[in-house]
């Protein structure tokens, strides 16, 4: 993803307007467009080669899986759900921060979201794409994946079981993927028109021209556009909460100790936001560094995200404690066994305490302003948080399954190389999509940033005010 030598070229074109902190509308257009307009750098091809190779590994593993059967994974009695579901929930959770930033923060009029929402929405889509692979292949016969949907066909002479949370999940995830894609695309249209109008080659003109659908920015266009955007934000807000709620139903609706608990929906949603924000921080730190957009994605943005990580990490820690309390207070020996033995002291204790260290302890450092505004520190913590959140899903799944009511059927889950390489490969897919995104599409919502600047009436004070407003020191517009 490195295009370091672009920095010089960009800096020359942006200096002094952006670096002095007084951007005009045109400067914003330049700052974002140039990322896609400079000549493709050698490093971009290197990055693409690396990420597509990793994606290729995933492709090989999936081909092997489909040709051989799901037995190539470590899933086996008693742990019938292994890394496939763990990774599915992990990726879906990461996607949630994108929707949260684009929809919920929009409804709450959080101005600071403007320069990161495009990027976070892209992350949602790419994460959901990675997640979608698992349910599609874990069914064993992916060519029959359409059986998951109520499509009449000559092979399946019955209907889907609408009383099963697994089918709810099919609807939740596919709706989420569709609505996120629509939301993202609607937001992109005005910026694609900007790219169209700046295009220098016939090919670009045609591609961006088709993609922007003939957008011309008329007042009528904006009127309906803003309405559509508001409605989509309003729809996405309950939708994103419903998705991880329904994902948690996959577990909570069962009667297995460790899964059968009403705390799951809010606890899963908090965890999803937690991991998603951590992923946005990881990616944003890299992108700011490569593309030199520090003046659009400021330290305030990163600090705010770190505050969200701190808050949601604390909620997640509270949920872990509540689970233990409930297990003890219920007096149910099986419930207590899952938590006090299987998780805290049993063969999976290493995974459990890794989860606690990563998810509960590590975000607490963000109480200190110095730490939450340090780029290297937040980068490391954001990665640790995602490792921890992966462990959370693994712990929930493996510890609850590995010891049955009959000691004769106890077991221990071990992943195979196919499990490991497939998961590794999904990161390749995620990053490949990002590499393309940062090359060809506006990575910052140009028209939204301009609209935000206009709201402050005086362009000169835009950045100072954005900082002050998000820190709650003064309302925007009051400085004049």
């Amino acid at each position: 993803m490195a295009e370091l030598s672009h920095a010089q070229e960009m800096k020359e074109r942006l200096t002094p307007s952006l670096t002095s902190g007084h951007p005009s509308y045109h400067d914003v257009t330049e700052a974002v467009s140039i990322i896609s307009e400079v000549k493709t750098h050698r490093n971009w091809y290197i990055a693409l080669a690396i990420t597509t190779s990793i994606t290729g590994i995933m492709g090989l593993m999936l081909a092997y899986l489909v040709a051989t059967g799901v037995g190539v994974w470590g899933n086996n009695g008693p742990v019938g759900w292994g890394w496939d579901i763990t990774n599915f929930v992990f990726w879906i959770g990461i996607g949630h921060a994108g929707t949260l930033i684009s929809a919920i923060l929009f409804l709450f009029r959080q101005k600071w979201r403007t320069s990161i929402n495009r990027f976070a929405e892209a992350m949602t889509l790419f994460a959901v794409a990675c997640a979608g692979i698992y349910p599609a292949v874990h069914i064993g016969r992916p060519w029959r994946a359409y059986w998951l949907f109520p499509i009449p066909n000559e092979f399946l002479s019955m209907w889907q079981n609408f009383r099963s949370p697994l089918l709810w999940d099919v609807f939740a995830v596919s709706t989420y993927a569709t609505v996120s894609a629509l939301f993202w695309y609607v937001g992109l249209i005005p910026d694609l028109a900007t790219f169209r109008d700046r295009a220098t080659t016939k090919g670009k003109q045609l591609a961006y021209g088709v993609a922007s659908l003939g957008w011309r920015g008329s007042a009528t266009h904006w009127k309906n556009y803003e309405k559509a955007y508001m409605i989509l934000a309003g729809l996405s807000t309950p939708l994103v909460l419903s998705v991880h709620t329904i994902v948690s139903f996959d577990f909570a609706v069962s009667i297995l100790p460790g899964w059968h608990t009403t705390i799951f929906p809010p606890y899963f949603v908090a965890g999803a936001i937690f991991s998603g924000f951590a992923m946005v921080v990881t990616l944003m730190v890299i992108v700011r560094w490569i593309y030199k957009v520090e003046h659009l994605v400021t330290m305030t943005h990163l600090e705010n995200m770190n505050k969200v990580i701190l808050a949601t990490g604390t909620i997640v820690g509270y949920a872990y404690a509540t689970e233990f309390f409930t297990a003890w207070y219920s007096g149910n020996p099986y419930e207590s066994y899952v938590f006090f033995v299987s998780r805290a002291t049993g063969p999976y204790a290493w995974a459990y305490w890794s989860m606690i260290s990563c998810n509960v302890i590590s975000p607490q450092f963000f109480w200190f302003k110095k730490l939450r505004t340090s780029l290297p520190f937040m980068f490391v913590i954001s990665i640790i948080v995602n490792i921890g959140m992966w462990f959370e899903r693994f712990v929930i799944i493996a510890t609850s399954l590995h010891r049955d009511y009959l000691p004769a059927s106890w077991g221990y889950f071990r992943p195979t190389f196919v499990d490991i390489l497939t998961f590794f490969g999904t990161f390749g897919l995620f990053l490949t999509l990002f590499v393309f995104f940062t090359r060809f599409l506006p990575i910052i919502a140009i028209s939204e940033v301009k609209g935000m600047m206009a709201q402050t009436h005086h362009e000169e004070h835009f950045l100072d005010e954005a900082v002050a407003a998000s820190e709650g020191k003064q309302p925007v517009g009051a400085a004049h």
Binding site: S24, Y25, H26, T29, P150, M158, W159, Q160, N161, F162, R163, P165, L167, W168, F171, A172, T175, T178, V179, L182, F183, Y185, V186, I189, P190, A193, T194, R196, D197, R198, V210, L213, G214, W215, R216, G217, S218, A219, T220, W222, K223, N224, Y225, E226, K227, A228, I231, L232, L235, P238, L239, S242, I246, F249, S447, E448, K450, G451, A454, Q455
Partner: protein, 179 residues
Amino acid sequence: MAEKPSIHGLVADFDSPDKLMDAIKAARKAGYSKMEAYTPFPIHGIDDAMGAKPSILGYLVLCGSATGLTIAVLLQWWTGAVDYPLVIAGKPYFALEPSIPIMFELTVLLSAFVAVFGMFGLNGLPKLYHPIFNYSGHKAITDDRFVLVIEASDREFDATGTRDFLAAQGADKLELIEA
């Protein structure tokens, strides 16, 4: 196409949203009614200034929501209780509680489709041609220019009179565009 191309309207190009807004208000005052503004980002209050009606998209989406909800109820009831009733864990063939997740999801899905494609429909997108693209400076509209077009079909429109009027509003550039 041997006919002389007709005129779509007169373009006035401004460098700030405030000037555009003032020009719109002045134009309305002067009796112009057929006008359209073109801007790089949505401008607060521009619809009121132009006397435009609020978007009807919300009502369309409501129809989409109702359709999605209805489909979800009928789908779950008909497949589970009518077409192929199957006893699973002694649960009823159809009940409201387990149907809620899919009712919710399909409501959201159809609402979102209507929101997006309804917006396309109301905005006439995709569109291959529009007279504004004949304006020599149209490419700057998606960058940092704020354009007002008074259409030739307006009763008050008069090539010289309207030009003088818009020049007085502080337009940096005036241009007649073909339809």
